[in-house]
């Protein structure tokens, strides 16, 4: 049995739900009971790094760049940060036009017209144009040669840090875009340990964020940095805090949905745009005072409670004008108020579609929470049985495994709904919804069997498990891998 088999049914493979427990190892041992062989792993290839190990990664990157082009190490860092650590891109740009490339990368300054003012004031010895004082023994400057006193540099760096800028601190001269290398900043902050720590922390954040293979663990207060070359939005689990998340975007693992789609979906669920849609679909504005009215009864003769205006819900006309010919508005007329109605209809359609998917997404999320309780109950039941000498705990492992598998399948099922919501109509959607329906059916049958595990024969339960996992694998295979 190979590693992929194990990861597929191991206890820690249920997407962040539940704690690890001592049954896990047994799970792995017994995994071949469910003979589903996935062709791909849902786990990304990754390693967990400490801050020191990450620094090593940066140094290696810098060294390999320095060996290819004639450049100082401190500038190599700036170049790599600005170019997502793509050494080939840097070498190509550098070889094509060195001067232009160094200017564009904020390492060398653009040629600038001499200012009349700075020409006169720089005659003064040791003059800093920011604090407007002279007599400074040293005036540090970047490669651009704009001199300022140490006090002002510190003030500038502190001000940038308070805005969260670290890797891209610019020269203080106006329109000069040269960035300060870290060794320049660290030298100035030597006497200010608190600020130095802050700078180093922000710089690490900037460097990690610019590196395509690195990602901070999303766990609370976890300092681990994940390194992975995985191109697909697969799952990683931090070895330190055991948080599971998507290796690409850092959100909860969301197969088969893509990172962009899940981001769109989550924003849609979080913001109140749907509230607006609801209002638009279910209410109309009083034609006289424009207050918002929700129709609660069947009668189309509406009286606005605020301005007491009587009007017709269908045509917005004054109710009096309906006169002898009631329901004149049932006849189709090309008029602007009917056109306005079309928008209501459209909004209502959109709302219905969204609610359809959202309700199912939410419902599975709730079921997952409730099945956590089921897991505890089964754990207790196994303990009781073992204590009563009714079989050993190894004998009852299949019960525990069945809940784990149920959680895993339901989790994937939950995330098929955002995928389906954004999938355009067509044969691909038909196939997806067919497979989704199959998985839905198997998951519910499995859930039924698990909840009644005591009266279900082990063989029947395992058959359910096998079928559910099989459907899940087929769906992931066709739409995720």
């Amino acid at each position: 049995m190979d590693d992929e088999d194990m990861s597929c049914t191991s206890g820690e493979d249920y997407g962040g739900y539940g704690d690890e427990d001592y049954y896990n190892e047994a799970d792995v041992d017994a995994a071949d009971d469910v003979a589903v062989t996935p062709t791909h792993s849902e786990e990304a290839d990754y390693e967990c790094l400490s801050v020191n190990q990450v620094e090593r990664v940066f140094i290696d990157g810098v060294n390999s760049l320095v060996s290819r082009i004639q450049i100082n190490e401190k500038y190599a860092r700036i170049l790599l940060e600005a170019n997502q650590w793509d050494a080939d891109k840097i070498v190509t740009g550098y070889r094509k036009d060195r001067t232009e490339f160094m200017r564009k990368s904020h390492i060398e300054s653009k040629p600038e017209p001499k200012r009349t003012l700075s020409a006169t004031t720089s005659m003064l010895k040791g003059y800093c144009s920011v604090c407007a004082m002279d007599g400074y023994p040293t005036l540090p400057h970047l490669s651009c040669g704009h001199c300022f006193c140490e006090h002002c540099w510190r003030g500038h760096i502190e001000s940038r840090l308070s805005e969260g800028v670290a890797a891209r601190i610019e020269c203080m001269e106006s329109e000069c875009e040269v960035y300060a290398p870290s060794e320049f900043v660290l030298l100035l902050l030597k006497s200010l340990p608190a600020l130095k720590v802050k700078y180093e922390r922000f710089l690490l954040r900037d460097m990690v964020n610019s590196h395509p293979q690195l990602k901070f663990c999303v766990g609370n207060d976890c300092e681990v940095i994940i390194r992975s070359t995985e191109p697909k939005p697969k799952r990683v689990t931090c070895q330190c805090c055991h948080t599971s998340f998507c290796v690409k975007c850092g959100a909860d693992y969301h197969a088969p949905t893509s990172c962009e789609t899940i981001r769109q979906w989550m924003t849609k669920c979080a913001d109140d745009s749907e509230t607006a849609n609801y209002i638009s679909a279910h209410t109309k504005d009083c034609p006289q005072c424009h207050s918002c009215i929700e129709k609660a009864g069947g009668c189309n003769h509406i009286q606005c409670t605020r301005c007491k205006h009587h009007f017709c819900w269908m045509c917005f006309g004054d109710w009096k004008s309906h006169g002898s010919e009631y329901y004149e508005c049932s006849r189709y007329k090309e008029n602007p108020s009917v056109a306005a109605e079309a928008n209501h209809v459209k909004a209502r359609r959109a709302l219905e579609k969204y609610l359809h998917y959202f309700e199912r997404f939410e419902n599975h999320s709730k079921s997952l929470k409730m099945e956590e309780e089921l897991r505890d109950k089964i754990r207790k039941k196994i303990d009781d049985k073992v204590n009563e000498h009714n079989g050993t705990w190894i004998d009852w492992q299949y019960l525990h495994k069945s809940v784990s598998l149920l959680t895993k399948c339901r989790y994937t099922l939950q995330y098929t709904y955002p995928f389906a919501y954004y999938l355009g109509a067509g044969p691909r959607k038909n196939l997806f919804e067919y497979q989704q329906a199959q998985l839905e059916k198997e998951v519910e049958e499995l859930a039924w069997a698990v909840e009644r595990a005591e009266v279900t024969a082990r063989g029947a339960l395992e058959a359910h498990m096998h079928r559910a996992e099989h459907k899940r694998q087929v769906l992931l295979h066709d739409f995720f891998f």
């Binding site: 920011v130 604090c131 407007a132 006090h151 003030g155 500038h156 203080m172 106006s174 329109e175």
Partner: protein, 205 residues
Amino acid sequence: MSNIALNRLQRECKEVVTNSEVSETGIMIEILNENLTEIKGHIRGPPDTPYAGGMFDLDIKIPEAYPFSPPNASLEAVKFTTKIWHPNVSSQTGVICLDILKDQWAASLTLRTVLLSIQALMCSPEPKDPQDAVVAKQYMDKPQVFKDTAAFWTLKFANGTVPVNAEYQNRVDKLKDMGVREEEAISVLSCNNWDLNRATVYIFS
């Protein structure tokens, strides 16, 4: 306020006052309180513009982290107190949209450069990046109306010298006869491209 900022500001005030350019460019600084946190700026309207001859006043509030953050770090810290009709200045509040007051600020810039930049903005407005959308639209669609309106505002609010469109004064007087304050009359007429009917409807509905 830090020592750096105090030194800087004292020096800057001296720079603006003594610089020989002052008489040529027409920018001035006036200190309002001892600790230099509130400063008044004056800009003479540049010649050959609708603002010619006018004298425009500005409020400048100096933030704690000056000069490392721009005088505009908190919203509305640099603004016109004289009413002005300009695409990059709010006709209601006087707030200015200028890059060096925001992200393009550099510690080596001074109040002098800020005032000079604002003066340059008066010569060449940037309607693509407007602060006041109504003014910007008029600037793009009806350049002549914009020029006349800006000159009218300069005369009324900034003691300008450019002769104004007599018909505009006529319409302002008509609204005044209906009991509208002059400032409101000018503002509403300007926003409605001097259409007296629309301005009347706007005020009285």
